[in-house]
Amino acid sequence: MTPEAASPAQEAGPLLEARGVEKHFGRVRALRGADFDVRPAEVVALVGDNGAGKSTLVKILSGIHHADAGEIRFAGERVTVASPDAARELGIETVYQDLALAPDLDPAANLYLGRELVRSGPLGWLGVLDKKGMRRGTEEAFATLGVGLQNTAAPTATLSGGQRQGVAVSRAVTWASRVVFMDEPTAALGVVQTRKVLDLIRRVRDSGLSVVLISHNMPEVFEVADRIQVLRLGERVASFRAADVSMEDVVGAMTGALRADGNGRDRFGRGTREDEER
């Protein structure tokens, strides 16, 4: 992620922004000029029907896919997010829908995957792992985030769905310094665990990080989101403040029944701020 055009950082402006992003998979146009933005320390819900392009957009912003066209801005500067490493250097972490955990490794190994601690001194030069340090760090992270795990030495595959979710969320929150993406973080969870994850999202936001929540579950979205952005057929069709809008409006925008955005600027939902700037 090399800054290509330096511009003064806009404090009040979006922290992370996508403009006119396009992505094709063979003949399928997953994204057709999608816009998206998230401001510092807010929860933005990214909603849309199946196939609207939510996951594709998240993967582009977290460096797994590359956009065919369009630009990504971080803190006002144009950046290219060429790899997961690049996203990480920007302080962006992602909880994937499939959790992206190594099932045969224990939670500590997963939390530190790709960022393993090594011993100090000559052993460290040889790459000898600091397993104790990683276990301690993991237990601290779990304690802070309220993830209940008695046995942190068991392979992650033996954990329940909620516990695994806890490991994946803890990993993202531990390493993120600016933005956390969460792709359907509660899809596999029971009601108690869902509540925990939603509380966690609020706490993460209050600690100063931005959270992008991808979800199908409208009550959940309205419970935690500050703003809601709607993707439909690979484009952003609406951007609402959660407090100003009803669930019917959001669902209407998702399905195409209602095509005005929350501010009623444009009946095609294209009068958003970013577009006007262009």
Binding site: A102, P103, G114, G127, T158, L159, G190, V192, T194
Partner: protein
Amino acid sequence: MKPADEVSARAAEAAAPTELRDEDVQEEQSWLQRLAGSNIWIFLILGGICLIFALLSFDSFASSTNLRNIAVDASVLLVLAVGSTFVIVTAGIDLSVGSVLVFSGVVSAKLMEAVGGESTGVILLGLGAALGSGLAWGLFNGVIIAKLKVPALIVTLGSFGAALGFAQLITDGVDVREVPFPLVESVGTGQLFGEIPYLVVIAVGVALVFGVVLALTRFGRHTYAVGSNEEAARRAGIHVDRHLIKVYALAGTLSGLAGFMSLARFATTTIGGHSTDNLQAIAAVVIGGTSLFGGIGSVLGTVAGVFIPAVLENGFVILGVQPFWQEVAVGGVLILAVYLDQLRRRARYRE
């Protein structure tokens, strides 16, 4: 808002009892998993086999000469199997190890013959040539597998044939018998403190070093991660392609070392003698508890997995049982080992 609320509430009700059940299952699994997941089984089996042979024929089986023979026979295979352990932990496979062993031995022998003399310098040159040849084949395998995404089974089946073919082209199919005598005398048949054969010392050293690398280092951790969930490793910022290339390069280099050891032991290139080394190495790794599906395994287990067939063969010979039974018995142990792995996986994965 109402209907959606009701739906999620219903879903929650449905989910709650499931959670309780999960806890029970976890309790039950933990001991099952401890049993199936550890290396203890395989060492018990090895110990049991040794005990039976010792009881039936103590003087012949348990003599230091015989135990030394078993260890020497196993040493070359152990070096191959250590490399295969890394490959199989990444959920890969390397069928080329025996042919790369032959190729490396041939290149090394030819070079030493061409340079001439029996100095230490020539021998070290030969060692370098063997390691270099093995490394080259390993890099070839790794690059094709990681970058061109050709399945490891096919790539290494190809290099299995090609490496042996090149070895025969270089020698016209005739074994090279010009091996420097000091090499045969020292590494090949010499013994540390007059007790432990150097071949065994080398093999134990390789197993020790790479056992530690796999179990305790970042390189080892990444090897497990790539085998356990390649995509997760990639998303975690691990350079999966580069790592796979390194792992196959390691397996190739160890095959080169094994080629040099074999050269020292037999004082000839044994071109025709390694066509089943690959399967023996894979069998040893799998018997040792390393999962063909990747993500699980250890070098310690592989050590036991190498010795079970070696002890069986030796014991049958001593007892006057037809040695062909050894292959039957190893086949049985192999299938049992994979069955245990299946049990373990079933106990681990909850879905």
